[in-house]
Amino acid sequence: MKSSTLSFLLAGLLLTGGVHASAADHVHASHAWIRVLPGDLPAGAYVTLQNDGDQPVALSGASSTVYADVMLHQSSTAGDMSRMTMVDALPVPAHGKAVLAPAGYHLMLMQANAPVKPGDTVRLTLSFTDGSTLATDFIARPANAMDAGDDHRGH
């Protein structure tokens, strides 16, 4: 009995050591919210990603059953001109974080298959460059919201 439990534990330990932990295992998502716009206009989604791992990871995009298309974008300002560019991957440093926030990195959500209203929760599946995924619930906020509206914002 005793020896079989021990060997089971040992096998488990060996297995853990052998399998490379995925990016998603080390990433925690917080302050996840969507700025809902009227009609079928594309919406911006924002989230803070904390990487507790010893290795840098990178967000490559997201998908959703609610939106037909989700793209990782970056808004930038040069002079007084604003523009948006597509981003292939957003690095999240080891023991560091990446912030998707208004006027910077964001997920552009397009073509909702059902109206999303403020107060709704929408699940987005974040994907990382190693192929791992992290299902995250985003709170839908009104168009004129400034942030996730939670009581424990980072700053």
Partner: protein
């Protein structure tokens, strides 16, 4: 001594000019970039979000915040309008003397109906303005506010890069201030107080 003799007339001239300036018109102590006298008055012929033809003259008597954008802009445009909403909230009842004019640089997709739903999602004192490409371009050129359309993708969608500046006009339609989304909201509230507190047109 020689220096003083040369300097004194210049100093007197400066003091004289300052006094003349004060007598003429006390400059308001703005915190944002003061563009008084450097930009043309508010003037346009566009369609509002009720489908009504409007001109710059229709907004005389209101302090106007003019911003160019488009509704398919998911990040910076809504952020700017949300910030302006916060500023209007902070002005309290005074905000009734101000209007946010959101001019679409994407008239192909931004109909008055789309604009109506859009601006009202931000603030009841926001007005959505559209026009044909020529009218929109004329207005944006007037305020040196450039925009370009990025090449479209296969599904017909496209992005528009645009100026993020906010132009503020006084109740007489005179251009007074230039703000940007990165400017502090406190400064915008402060300066709008100066323009709104001066009351009706003199």
């Amino acid at each position: 001594m020689k220096l003083c003799r040369a300097f004194l007339p210049a100093l007197l001239l400066v003091v004289g000019l300052l006094l003349a300036g004060c007598q003429h018109d006390e400059p308001l102590p703005f915190r944002l970039t003061n563009i008084s006298g450097h930009m043309p008055d508010l003037d346009f012929k566009l369609t509002d979000d009720h489908g009504k033809a409007v001109t710059g003259a229709d907004y005389r008597g209101k302090v106007v915040l003019l911003y160019f954008g488009y509704t398919h802009c998911p990040d910076v445009c809504p952020l700017t309008l949300a910030q302006l909403h916060v500023v209007m909230q902070r002005l309290g009842p005074l905000a009734d003397g101000a209007r946010i004019l959101f001019v679409s640089v994407d008239p192909a997709r931004d109909t008055p109906a789309v604009m109506h739903a859009y601006v009202n999602a931000f603030d009841s004192r926001a007005v959505g303005l559209t026009g044909d490409a020529r009218a929109t371009e004329a207005l944006s050129k007037r305020y040196r506010s450039a925009f370009t359309r990025e090449p479209g993708s296969a599904d017909g969608s496209y992005e528009v890069s645009h100026s993020s500046a906010i132009y503020v006009f006084d109740r007489d339609g005179k251009a007074r201030l230039l703000s940007t989304p990165s400017a502090s909201r406190d400064d915008l509230v402060h300066d709008l107080h100066l323009l709104l507190d001066t009351g009706a047109t003199p």
